[in-house]
Symmetry: C2
Subunit: 570 residues, 2 copies
């Protein structure tokens, strides 16, 4: 089949593959909803109109047909599964296209990691586009598995699925004209350049935008979003698992500016993807809160396609891919049928196609630790310690000063005050580096939790009551080649293997979700009172988010942007 | 100066080149108009805000500042001048960017012609982008100076000013899957693909759009435009010298669809450009007829930039070029100051910079006629002739059947019935081909008019009362190396030399305009009653517009799409 066949079908000379009759077409281009047939042939919409004949014909009886949804910015790694499994999660929710920044796997495996993602997306059911990860590693106060400079990222240029440069998280560097950042921007200047500049404002924001940045997904208030929008940034409103910005940002949206607003999920955990959904959830939430359905659908499809220059996506018109979502009720946008490239891939919330086992990929292991018999002991060289204070359900922390619990000249966990030992074990280069500290807020009364998901360096994080449990947790993770565990003494209570870079599973997402739930239950059985201690732990090593974090190099005071001693001077 | 300097100015660490204070900023991105300073450095806007210092500062006292205007589709050749002179005409009207299809010069000189246009735009004051001419020649029923296939057009790919493939005028060919047309579309599929499909509708239109076409500027009715918009074509509303579609199409524009509508001029004569204006005229006309000023300005700037993916144009924001238009009154959009790349280029309707003489370019002559002693006689082989009937101020014609005036066995002009001899002399290859016929409606009582502007082949057209005047006209044109003349017997009453391809002058546009006015006056003095007989004549050879036209190959019945005999069978 070729363009010649499609034109023949468009002219009505041969029957089309499929005619969807009596659709209420959500025309995001003309801004109208009206009755039309939709004629599909060879993966494309070839015509809108009536009196076309199809090999298959389906009368929709006036049901609404919207374009396949587009997630403008997502880290697939947050779903803990590989692209085909992510696809199985989001396609039933109507998401047919995702623009992804693979910076988690890039921090572990570099270009090899990005290429794994592209390889796993091949022949897949989801349109997956990639932004080249711009900030690997996040800072020099950590040991990551890779370092990507402009010369490396340049190798991705010209790849048909690579749309530009991913979120420029080193926003002070960009605004201050850091040479490495400007090199990367220069390389991708004709493509999309995603931003990431939480709370940036005024002159520094002007400089950041002047450097060429084109979008922003970190806005949390209308005031912040409006300042950024006025400077020309397309606003990606985000509704992730942790960061939920849609409702606070709804007042931003007006008929005058909605063309410059898109929807994205950024980071969503398996349970949220499966139960709540993705962009469809955002559309439902927006409509339920008064946004015009057409505008909401545009923000979840057409606007993102326009922003990224995806000519054949995001609208229903001749020449575009037949990515279609059928819904019965616009006020309750629940996809009944989802077509991707003219093929029915999901119906009533479930995939219509059997899951395919992934083809083998030779990907190197990512766990490189010299010995599992680690020394987690902390010699007491003072009386007071800097403690990471978690803030309920947030990724920011407080910097606290506490009295150390000292036994035999060693600083140890103190379950009474919920001050637990926290270690970050370098796992990329077998350097033996271990950052050690204490953290408050996890509530464990015994045992340990650990995992190789620890933004953005993804070293091995472990929080525990006693060193034996911590060592057992590390051994269990090394045995799995990466993943998450909950351990009590020698007993592994629950585990989730993440053999791909220590970040992803290739198992069915439903299995991963169950294993994850078991992990949380196990942590709770040991005393944790966080709704998701593993997610919170995964951000406790991210030294670009305030205030006190731990990397394999030690405790990072984010506001001072330097490594500090565990024991306070006085 | 570099990005580093711009970021420094954006951060306010060094004074900017220019600060425009107290602007009423027309923010086409956020859809608002509000008070702001505009900070310009190194050709770019680097910041919006207050309290920046500038080497120069200008208090606008609340005057409005809009983005430099963008003409989404123009044939610069219609202005009869080269790009620098076209720039001098449109910049005072606020047009700082033009997307041009050089298909007139391409029909004469092929790629060499397009390269001349690009060369003349270099270091120029206007941002000129080029669409690769897709239909050279228009048909096989004419002799043009060049034939451009996909292999030829491919040489323009990658040129930073080439944005895509120009208007696909062979619209039946595209819809029917003509191989040559599909080859060209395939080559430019990642870029912009302009359409041209007057009156196309229904299934054929679906096929045309399915082939990949992205825009349309030929709509004359709201019904036509709405059908095309719904199929995904961006609508370029056109207000040319001859074809004035803005007022009839105004009811198309809604708040829901205006993002998919742009303004263009297509073809504008020197007098209209100088006196009436360009896109600014369309904005004034739209606003005067009830369109919201912000929407009108968007259609004349931002929307076109988005359509063509021109990231640094069409809006006022950090990182974009400082192309700015200052107006005192939005209800009467008259540019008081025009900045291009941060430089004041026009003020109160006049250029602020002195005209520069063009640098020499070695461009070959385009007039290739074996002998100027042409035989215009027409032996009478019947009594009734097919006559081209002009329709006042239109480019379509009627096909009329009239009794021939016969003298000495020769068919001759008949001024009583206004049936004049019309010849189309092949001028590219010295083939000696001359198409001969008769035309009604020019009103000449004596003499002849002639010119090398004759769409799209641009052979030498001559209309005259007597063969001597016609020969004298040809001699005068050959002597000029191309151009337009009005001749009475041996006397050349008026002339406009167009030495560049027989289409363009490099003289000041004001001079060209005066010479053109003199030509019209001379034609009127010989009896013509058309408001512009030269413009009308230039379309009498265009065999893709109904109904009867004349090429060097003979009379073309456009509806039959074939060459017919001058003398009727019965």
């Amino acid at each position: 089949m070729s363009i010649v066949d499609r034109l023949r079908a468009a002219r009505g000379e041969t029957p089309a593959d499929l005619v969807l009759r009596n659709a209420s077409l959500v025309n995001v281009i003309s801004g109208e909803i009206y009755r039309s047939d939709i004629v599909v042939h060879d993966r494309h919409v070839v015509a809108l109109g009536s009196q076309y004949a199809g090999e298959r014909e389906l009368d929709l009886g006036g049901k609404f047909v919207a374009p396949g949804l587009i997630d403008a910015h997502a880290h697939i790694e947050s779903s803990l599964v590989s692209p085909p499994e992510f696809a199985r999660a989001v396609l039933p929710h109507g998401v047919t296209t995702v623009i992804t920044d693979p910076h988690e796997i890039a921090n572990v495996l570099g270009l090899e990691g990005m290429r794994y993602m592209l390889e796993r997306a091949k022949h897949g059911l989801l349109n997956m586009f990639v932004m080249a990860s711009s900030c690997v590693p996040a800072t020099d106060m950590e040991t990551s598995g890779a370092r990507l400079e402009a010369e490396d990222l340049g190798q991705l240029l010209g790849h048909p699925w690579v749309l530009g440069l991913a979120e420029l998280m080193n926003y002070p560097g960009v605004a201050l004209g850091d040479e490495g950042m400007l090199d990367k921007i220069e390389l991708f200047r004709h493509l999309a350049l995603d931003g990431h500049a939480p709370d940036m404002s005024g002159r520094m924001l002007n400089a950041y935008v002047a450097a060429g940045v084109q979008s922003e997904h970190e806005c949390t208030t209308v005031e912040e979003a409006l300042e950024k929008l006025r400077l020309g940034l397309t606003i990606f409103i985000r509704e992730g698992t942790t960061t939920r910005n849609l409702l606070p940002l709804l007042p931003l949206i007006s008929s005058e500016n909605q063309g410059a607003i898109c929807f994205c999920t950024d980071d969503r955990m398996p349970a949220d993807l499966l139960d709540e959904g993705s962009i469809d959830h955002m559309i439902r939430l927006a409509i339920a809160n008064g946004v015009d359905p057409l505008a909401a659908i545009r923000m979840g499809s057409y606007n993102s396609a326009r922003h990224f220059g995806l000519k054949k996506y995001g609208a229903i018109a001749p020449g575009k891919y037949a990515d279609l979502v059928v819904v019965a009720d616009l006020q309750n946008f629940r996809p009944e049928m989802v077509y991707r490239g003219g093929r029915l891939v999901a119906e009533n919330g479930a995939m219509t196609l059997p899951r395919q086992a992934p083809r083998p990929i030779n990907l190197r292991g990512s766990l490189n630790i010299a010995s599992t018999e680690l020394d987690f002991s902390i010699r007491a060289v003072g009386e007071r310690i800097h403690v990471i204070g978690t803030v309920r359900d947030q990724v920011v922390t407080e910097k606290r000063l506490e009295r150390a619990k000292i036994l035999d000249n060693m600083a140890v966990s103190d379950v009474e005050r919920d001050i637990l030992k926290f270690a970050m074990v370098e796992r990329h280069r077998a350097s033996g580096a271990i950052g050690k500290g204490f953290i408050q807020g996890f509530g464990l009364k015994r045992g340990a939790i650990a995992g190789t998901v620890a933004h953005d360096h993804h070293n091995l994080a472990v929080i525990g009551v006693d060193d034996e449990s911590m060592r057992a947790a590390v051994r269990a993770i090394v045995a799995m080649g990466g993943g998450l565990v909950a351990v009590d003494g020698e007993a592994v209570l629950a585990r989730l293997p993440l053999p791909v870079a220590g970040l992803l599973s290739e198992s069915p997402i439903e299995t991963v979700r169950q294993q994850y739930d078991s992990l949380i239950d196990a942590a709770k059985s040991m005393g944790s009172h966080l709704s998701d201690p593993f997610m919170v732990m995964s951000f406790m090593g991210l030294e670009v988010i305030p205030k006190l974090k731990l990397t394999d190099q030690g405790l990072v005071d984010v506001e001072q942007f330097k490594i500090i001693d565990l024991f306070a001077q006085n």
